[in-house]
Symmetry: C2
Subunit: 417 residues, 2 copies
């Protein structure tokens, strides 16, 4: 298996205000091609430190990918130092000089002298075109090592890596490509240890497959990875395992890979041509916000009321004063009246309501932080859930909104019964 | 100036699914103490790679801080390798053995044999207590170098660093402490280059002060840093510069450091005892969600309507059908009726409304994506703003919600006139 080492250059990455997201992006792309990242280094704009980083990286791995330090200023040393370590001379490349001049001309500016160094390259390197900035990258294969230099800004680096570097890696390391298959299965409902138990027998049956559980905003993502030379075998294995997981935890599966709870619900609503309206209290608009994060949501989303005060609940949702007085705003009775009121006012077939205590404090002793009532009104059907969430204000609100969506999802995938 | 190098251990940090947030946290804390981070390294759970990382780090810097790899499994090699590199033997520490046993006893479990290695330490090291997990850290000063080992989970690492490591750094490097003063001034309104121009003269007048502009979700944060031996002088300088900036861009300043637009508006609402209600369209609940992110918002927030459909606008906000037909939902007229309707229905003195096109597509040719109307109804006053935002759906929605809050903020800080 080929190995890679990643280098990120930039003093700003050492000040603790900026995460090094470039190396995370590159690591994932390389992993998916079956190239194992064995180390990542971040260094400032300092000649000696950069030199040491390249020496170590080339010593450690077959492929070294660096980002940052390709700009026109004196601080930008990466290319110069990397070529020194690789034992390559740099020459001025006239095609690149012209490209730089064109870049500035299009912006009605003349090129500063200092930018000329961005056109310096070893003759044996492939120059990687940067359509979004002045700094070209480079790809160099020499002495059984590959050196890749890319600019630092993610919006320039990412397309260059994807469109220009990956095809070259495929050309130079064909055996490394497509050896890893990944799938994510997203679960809402059971807890992590409960899910682990449900999956135990599946995992025992398929030891060649790696599984990791990742808690993500109230969901648990099952991350499946198969590695192996025989791609057909790997694919078959992935299908088998997915099928087994589906049999064990089927109804808790929200979706796969790029699916999200919201996108799955949206798909169901579009298919069934049903309209949804929402009445929120403790989630304060979060559920509506999540629904409308998706473009095109106006097709099925009527609107929502954030009834943060009792007056809003009475005025907009026809919640009765006596229900509020008798049971309190956080009660199954009020959740029910909120959903029914919303359904009636909007004329939408489906209405969701949420009322609860997001914290950090609760006014009522018998109603602890995390107590949330969720109601789905679907035609004549009325379904209330009492939940006890654990976490801070933010996570309780996210869990409440997601659980409401999931209640709707389970209703819709059962054909609305 | 003392230097530091950071090492993060963990194969999961090399797979491209997890950002190395520990090193960002530690870098910021060290920077604030006047210790310069010269490099960061991420390595997998591999003996040789870890060894090389420690050798290089100790070669490069005065202080080496590592996180991860202190668990009980065979993969957890950090302490063993680091001590090997430092030339220290490890002995079993009976106090730590007892602590581990207590930890498991409290959880009604017996301690697995493998956890014993977590009680191995060089006798010359200071053991750092971990109240949230089984892995203690260590602090070792030897041969003019300081070696710090901490566990990987951020919720264990962060309090240990803050409460246990920082006092020791202060003890061992008193000259490095408190030499850096930082302040963030948060701006909403002018663009980055416009702001730069407004600040040019300030910056020219104070060359000892470092300034960086950072774009954060529609705001621009002015990051000010003063470094110097004389803390009083630095503080004075920071005050002077803040005052100058206030004079140049005063009304665009949202707040300082931990302030947020929402918290500043909330403070004004509490002080003036005014109530706020909100009518949203394209932001789809985001503005209400932002307002209710703050605990205690029920004190001043009446509630909101997300009138995603025209029917919702008519039913809940008294927007007239003819206004919708004549001007379209995205128009200053509808924004005005939404705010007025919300104000009247809720009885709140203040109402904000937002209607616009968040994209990615627009139905109407003459109404491009990014066109947003925002209206503030404050008592009898009615103020409409037409905005042309650039960005994707998410950023347009954030900009719209923030601009609405900022309209309210400017109204409130002017004493509501």
């Amino acid at each position: 298996m080929k190995t890679a080492c990643l280098i990120s250059t930039g003093t700003e990455l050492l000040l603790g205000t900026t995460n090094d997201s470039n190396s995370t992006y590159i690591a994932e792309r390389l992993f998916n091609r079956g190239i194992r990242v064995v180390g990542k280094v971040v260094v400032g704009d300092n000649h000696n430190t950069i030199k040491k980083a390249f020496e170590n990286a080339l010593d450690l791995a077959d492929i070294v990918v660096s980002s940052g330090g390709l700009g026109p200023t004196r601080d930008d040393l990466t290319k110069e130092v990397a070529c020194e370590v690789m034992g390559c001379d740099m020459l001025i490349n006239m095609v690149e000089v012209q490209r730089l001049k064109d870049y500035f001309a299009r912006r009605q500016r003349s090129m500063p002298e200092s930018n000329l160094k961005q056109a310096l390259f070893p003759p044996e390197a492939e120059i990687i075109y940067n359509s979004l900035g002045t700094a070209p990258g480079m790809y160099l294969k020499k002495d059984n090592k590959v050196l890749v230099l890319l600019p630092g800004p993610p919006r320039e680096m990412e397309p260059m890596f994807k469109q220009e570097i990956e095809p070259r890696l495929e050309r130079d390391f064909p055996q490394a490509v497509n050896r890893v298959i990944r799938r994510t299965i997203k679960i809402l409902g059971p807890g992590e240890s409960q899910l682990e138990k449900m999956l135990d027998s599946v995992m025992d049956a398929y030891p060649e497959l790696a599984m990791a559980l990742l808690a993500v905003d109230g969901e648990i993502h099952i991350k499946l990875t198969v590695e192996g030379q025989d791609i057909n075998h790997s694919q078959e294995l992935m299908e088998k395992v997915s099928q087994s997981i589906k049999e064990s935890v089927g109804r808790h599966i929200v979706g796969y890979d790029d699916d999200s709870l919201v996108s799955v619900v949206a798909r169901c609503l579009v298919e069934t041509e049903k309209k949804l309206a929402v009445a929120e209290s403790c989630t304060g608009g979060l559920l509506a916000k999540m629904i409308t994060d998706l473009p095109g949501s106006s097709e099925y989303f009527w609107g929502s009321v954030t009834s943060y005060s009792n007056e809003a609940k009475m005025l907009y949702l026809d919640v009765k004063r006596e229900t509020l007085e008798k049971h309190g705003a956080v009660s199954p009775e009020v959740a029910r009246e909120m959903a029914q009121g919303m359904q009636k006012k909007s004329g939408a077939e489906l209405a969701l309501s949420i009322t609860g205590i997001a914290g950090p404090n609760s006014d009522a002793k018998e109603k602890p932080v995390g107590l949330v009532y969720i109601c789905l009104a679907a035609g004549d059907l009325l379904q209330v859930k009492e939940m006890h969430f654990v976490g801070n204000r933010e996570s309780i609100r996210i869990l409440a909104a997601k659980t409401a969506l999931d209640l709707l999802r389970r209703h819709l995938i059962n054909g609305g019964r």
